[in-house]
Each structure stands twice: as C-alpha cells, then as structure tokens.
Symmetry: C2
Subunit: 183 residues, 2 copies
Amino acid sequence: MSSQRLSRDVLLPLLMEHVLTHGLGQASLRPLAKAAGTSDRMLIYHFGSKERLISELLTFAASVYAAGLEAVITTDAHPPTRADLLARILEQNAGPASQPFKNLWWEIVGGAARDLPGYREAARGMMHELLGWLERNMPPGDPDPAGGARFLLTVIEGTMMLSAVGHEDTAHAGLLAGGLLPS
Amino acid sequence: MSSQRLSRDVLLPLLMEHVLTHGLGQASLRPLAKAAGTSDRMLIYHFGSKERLISELLTFAASVYAAGLEAVITTDAHPPTRADLLARILEQNAGPASQPFKNLWWEIVGGAARDLPGYREAARGMMHELLGWLERNMPPGDPDPAGGARFLLTVIEGTMMLSAVGHEDTAHAGLLAGGLLPS
DNA sequence: TTCCTCTTGTAGCACTTGCTACATTTCCGT
DNA sequence: ACGGAAATGTAGCAAGTGCTACAAGAGGAA
C-alpha cells in the first residue's frame, strides 16, 4: 500500500507534464507510460484502469493548482483597488507560462459539461480554490469582498474564454467600457 | 462538383447531430458514417480526410449558430435595460435546449486554445456573430452600445463557464453584486 | 533458507483508428 | 446506345487502443 502510494506520487507529476503539453483527450496509455518512464502494463497496475488514472490525474492537477495559488498569496502585496487586482490577474494569466494549464483547463471544462467521471469535481475544486484566493485577496476596505470576488471571478473567466478564441481585444474593450480596468 | 456539394450539404446536418450528442473528440469515422447513413469510405471520398471533415463541420456549426441568432432577432422585443437583456440571455442559455450546443462549444474552445485546424476560426466566427447580435440588440438609448455589448459578452461567457463546472450560483451572486441583474 | 506478497517484463488479444486498392454501379452528355 | 466520369461497395492494411495472462525477479518475515 505504501509503496503503491509512493509510486503513484512519483508517476502523477510526470503524467501531468505529458498531459499539459499533449492534451488530455489524446492521452493514451502507451505514450503516457513512456513519458513517465514505465509501461502501460504498470499504469494499469498502479491505477486499475485508464479512467481511474485520469480521475486521479485531475484531482492531482487540482491540488497543484491550489498549491500554486497559495504560493502567490504569500509573495504578493495586495493591490489597492479591484481594478488593479483584476489587471494583475489578467496580466499574469496572459503570460505564456500559464498557457499549458489553460489548455488543460478547457478540456476539463468540456469534460465537466459532458459530466465525464472526475472532471466536474476537479473543475469545481479549482474554481472554489480560485474564488477563495480572490476573496482573501480583495483590496483592503472593499465594501463587499464576497460579492466582489464572485463578480471578478465571472469577469476573469469570461475574459479567459474570449482570449482563448482570439477575442482578447473584445474582452479588453468590454472591461474598459465596464469601468473594471484602471485607465 | 454540384452533386458533391449536394452530398455534403445532406451529410453535414446529420454529422452535426451526431457530434452534438456524442462529442467532437470521440467522433470517429465509422460512427459518424453510421449516423449519416453512409460508410467511412464515403466520408473520406466526400471530404478528403477526417481533418477536413471536422473543419467543414465546424464552419457549418458556426453558420447554424449564426442563423439561430438571426432568428431570435426578428422575433424578440428589445429588453428595456442591460440587466433585462442579460437576464434574458442567461435564462435562455440555461435551458436544456442549448445544452448540446454548449457541450460542443467547450470542445471548440479547447481546440481553439490548442490551435487545432479550423477550431479557432469557427470559435472566432461564432463569438463575432454573438457580439454583433448583442450590439444590435442593446437597449434603445444605451449610452455605449459597442462597449456595453463587449462588456455583456465577457460577463455572459464567464457565467457560461462557471455554470459548466457547477458554479452557477457563484456567477449569479457575482452578477448581483456587480449590479448587472434586475433585482 | 523458505515462503509469500509486491512489483515488473514479455506477449498478445480483440477491437478501433484513418485510410486505400480495386472493382463495380450509376448517371449524364453526346 | 455509348463512353467517360462520378459515386459507391467490399475488403483490407498498418497502426494504435485498453487491458490481460503468465511468468519471473525482488524483498522482507519466519
């Protein structure tokens, strides 16, 4: 049991790296195994089935995402206004470093929409985490941190989606028109 | 050429119906052919390759989407405020009728993010169409129809995404806190 | 040592994938 | 009716899919 858990903990990061670059939908056992330095035989042995592998991979991805947010919390100073906070988040998400994770994210959303096993839980978890982070990092003295965080989250995700399909300028213009970005 | 075009026009709706219910990622030639009443052999004959089939299917889906929006334009009366318009759109999108199309939409977004051939064009086109529809249907006398439409689009898509992962309540609370929904 | 469980390698099975070779039918212009 | 092109059926190929049967090494407990 303990060595099984150990093996999985070793495998999951390698598997996730492969999934981040090659996509979740196209991931099949043999390429995954190769990326993790094992065989398909071993993946089935450790995870039971591909479905459970994917499911565990998603919860692992969610935990990595949460950890990344926590890391940001401790290092950043709080932006003084909602607009500054929003601008900062969008700027960070637009960077190339977060591209692979965003690609994975859309596959997770798609899986959640179709209710594939494990997808909705992972997606819900990540959004819950991000919402919590937002709420904790709202500008000091914000009149409605809870509502404001939810509002920002909605706007952020809309911007992400529009950016994914090449409409970042549309989203930007919308946020400006809504008075949500610093001029 | 003309009979080829005819065949394609007959096939595409049947193919799209199959894709709407079964998903785009899992769509392989033989099930697609079965749904359209032909053989994989014929699909390759008419479309050249699976990649081109998917590409044509996406532009077809985009045109269907556009036509659907146009139909709504002529039948609806204009809501008096932005909040009413937003509420009406969200209500319509939350209905079960638009569920299959939304499922397909997330796959398109994922494909666009990964830059698969044809995906980004289709996604861009549909968003362009929706944006145009919004702009044309902004409340009469709105001070900034162009910017307002872009703002609404961003908020709408964010709400769609959060709803897809089971966070519709979060989005709703956010819109209320942002003063974007009628009380 | 012996035994037992955990872990791993080798082959392979039944099936699906996109696509093609080849032959045949269908249909339209002459 | 005839000839050529378009359209379709049959069969199959090479590769890849998830997964399993079987055997064998590894490592610790007795």
